[in-house]
């Protein structure tokens, strides 16, 4: 037998380089993954087309009136519209942004950068994770007892003043409740963004004599900003889309006459409604008055546009922060 040199082996092995496309399992996997993506995109597409189609009567003929109108008992009404719902949802979003975002981000910074890794911390983190999975109705119940009804057990343990503060079933109560609801999500996503900051950056900052707070301000927060932002704005979308907790808190589905402008803060002490509530109400009334089906579809389009605008803002801001971070 001839002597086989290393070169011979290498030349023979080189023949097998021609094998592109032979990975059958990989191809199947790729098609399956792409397939699920396209199916879900298709479903969303159909959904959007459907609500646009159903709501077109309202949206095409009287968009301005629909956006500025109110709850009505009949669907054929010049004053029918979503403005009261927009008012409620706007202020709910504002409360979430003002209360849940700073608290949640601060809690995440504390847990990641300051808290000792001991049993208490682990217990708190576990509790936060569990809270993020609690159904929203339960938060609605909490909100009802904390912010709306006075003669509950929470009232007896000295929290009755909260009800005086919120004024009962008002946008304030709704906003506070939804802020509590999204708080765990804000904390968890912010924690993950903060944890992803490379330790080399932190050491570099400490190495030239930065204090912990300087390090957090100049390294951790800028680096984690895109992730924190994405998480917080997604949780905002969630808050705007919730209906169940608002029903418990006492959002109104009929007979709400006041139609305050967005900047009218006195209406924060009045009863309220919100976009998801309008949708639920109108869908349930379409048996009695078919025109409400169109109104509900149009309201869904409005809600979708609001949520999409929020998400687009999130993406744009994230890209800007990411570019800054290099």
């Amino acid at each position: 037998m001839a002597i086989v040199t290393v070169g011979d082996v290498a030349r023979k092995n080189a023949q097998t380089l021609q094998g592109a496309g032979r990975d059958v399992g990989g191809t199947i996997f790729r098609i399956a993954v792409a397939g699920t993506l396209y199916v879900s995109l298709l479903i969303i597409g159909v959904l959007i087309f459907d609500v646009l189609f159903d709501g077109w009567d309202q949206l095409s003929t009287r968009l301005g009136g629909f956006l500025s109108g109110t709850l009505r008992s009949r669907s054929i009404d010049d004053k029918l519209g979503v403005h009261q719902g927009l008012y409620g949802s706007f202020w709910i979003a504002a409360f979430v942004a003002i209360i849940a975002f700073p608290t949640g981000i601060a809690a995440a910074i504390y847990l990641e950068e300051y808290a000792n890794q001991n049993r208490t911390t682990r217990f708190i983190e576990l509790a936060i994770r569990n809270l993020s999975g609690v159904p929203s109705v339960v938060y609605g119940l909490l909100g009802l007892f904390l912010f709306v009804e006075k003669n509950t057990i929470l009232g007896f343990i000295g929290l009755g003043w909260l009800v005086d503060l919120t004024g009962g079933p008002t946008p304030i109560s709704a906003g506070l409740t939804l802020a509590i609801l999204v708080l765990p999500i804000v904390i968890i996503t912010s924690q993950e963004a903060i944890r992803a900051v490379p330790s080399g950056l932190k050491e570099g900052a400490y190495g030239v004599g930065a204090t912990k707070s300087e390090m957090i301000r100049t390294q951790v927060l800028p680096y984690a900003a895109p992730g924190i932002l994405t998480g917080t704005l997604l949780s905002m979308s969630r808050a705007i889309g919730e209906a169940a907790p608002l029903i418990l808190i006492g959002a109104i589905s009929g007979g709400l006459t006041a139609n305050p402008s967005f900047v009218d803060v006195t209406a924060l002490q009045d009863r309220f409604t919100a976009l998801p509530i309008l949708i639920v109400t109108w869908v349930s009334q379409r048996g009695r008055d078919e025109g409400f089906a169109t109104a509900a579809a149009a309201a869904i389009v409005v809600l979708l546009v609001v949520v999409l605008l929020l998400n687009m803002t999130a993406i744009l801001l994230r890209n800007r922060f990411e570019k800054k971070r290099g």
Binding site: Q117, P198, G200, L201, K202, E203, G204, A205, Y206, G207, V208, G209, A210, T211, E214, T218, Q219, P222, Y223, R325, G326
Partner: protein, 292 residues
């Protein structure tokens, strides 16, 4: 805290220094760091054992030894960088100009402002080149203004000293992450010297550099050692022999009962002795390349 350290720095040279100065041509500076019986643990694992070492002012001290013997670990004790690792624990006596570095009330932030560090892996901030170098001076309040004037001078000076000015001067405002690995490391050196520390700790600063940049850095070290004390970790034996005044050779001992490896300081002496006439056979076989 601030006052205490500067008092310590300006203390008069001890008598021992004078007698040695009379003996030989080599002028010896004050002792900057005095380590006695230093042990470092990561959790229950003892990474280095019983280190006794004195590092002198206006000298370059090299740490050499095989990978994992604890060079980085000891180096990070010197500016309390190990505080940042939750499981790390330092035992023993570490003195900086006679001050106990680990005493209660010593502010690790102040320590690090005086004892700068260049890390083993280049870690530029995701900011512009200018902002990287200006980071320390801004944060320590060395300069009043956020840009221009004095700060420009500090940045240029630091970049020049770190042999990166020519490559960086036209792109000061572009991101430091767009630089090559070797450029990034020199930028980190510039960042460390921009705050004008008293001591510079360098953990393998040249491992990603080509011979030209390495030569620049070595020149820099020679230039600045009259102002700073430098401790450098290196895997490059020639570099240690070329630049350092003293060399500490670390090695590992396998603990028979737990199969873990603990770093020990085998020998510490003037560099020429370590390389020409070492006292310990382990040092000899390492520096001659028979073990490592």
């Amino acid at each position: 805290m601030e006052n205490v350290v500067s008092e310590q720095q300006s203390k008069s040279p001890d008598t021992g220094t004078d007698t040695r100065r009379a003996e030989g041509p080599k002028v010896e500076g004050d002792v900057v760091f005095a380590l006695s019986n230093v042990n470092v643990f990561y959790g229950a694992f003892r990474a280095v054992r019983d280190v006794n070492l004195q590092i002198h002012e206006q000298e370059i001290t090299a740490f050499i030894g095989p990978s994992g013997c604890g060079k980085t670990t000891v180096l990070r004790c010197l500016n309390r960088m190990n505080d940042l690792i939750a499981i790390a624990r330092v035992e023993g006596d570490l003195r900086y100009h006679g001050m106990d570095l680990y005493a209660n009330g010593v502010d690790a932030v102040e320590v690090r402002r005086r004892i700068g560090m260049v890390f083993q892996k280049p870690n530029p901030f995701p900011k512009s080149i200018y902002d990287n170098v200006a980071y320390g001076p801004r944060i320590t309040g060395m300069v009043k203004k956020k840009k221009g004037g004095d700060l420009d001078d500090i940045v240029e000076n630091a970049l020049r000293k770190a042999a990166i000015w020519d490559e960086a001067k036209d792109r000061l405002d572009s991101s430091a992450l767009g630089m090559s690995g070797g450029q990034q490391q020199r930028l980190c050196i510039a960042r460390a010297i921009a705050t004008n520390p008293d001591v510079l700790l360098m953990d393998e600063p040249c491992s990603a550099l080509d011979p030209i940049a390495t030569a620049h850095i070595e020149d820099l070290m020679q230039q600045i050692k009259s102002e700073y004390s430098i401790v450098i970790v290196t895997h490059n034996m020639q570099q240690a022999a070329r630049v350092s005044d003293r060399t500490a050779f670390f090695s590992v001992e396998v603990n028979p009962d737990s199969d873990t490896r603990t770093g020990v300081l085998v020998e510490y002496d003037h560099t020429d002795r370590i390389f020409s006439n070492p006292a310990d056979p382990r040092t000899e076989s390492y520096v001659t390349g028979r073990f490592g």
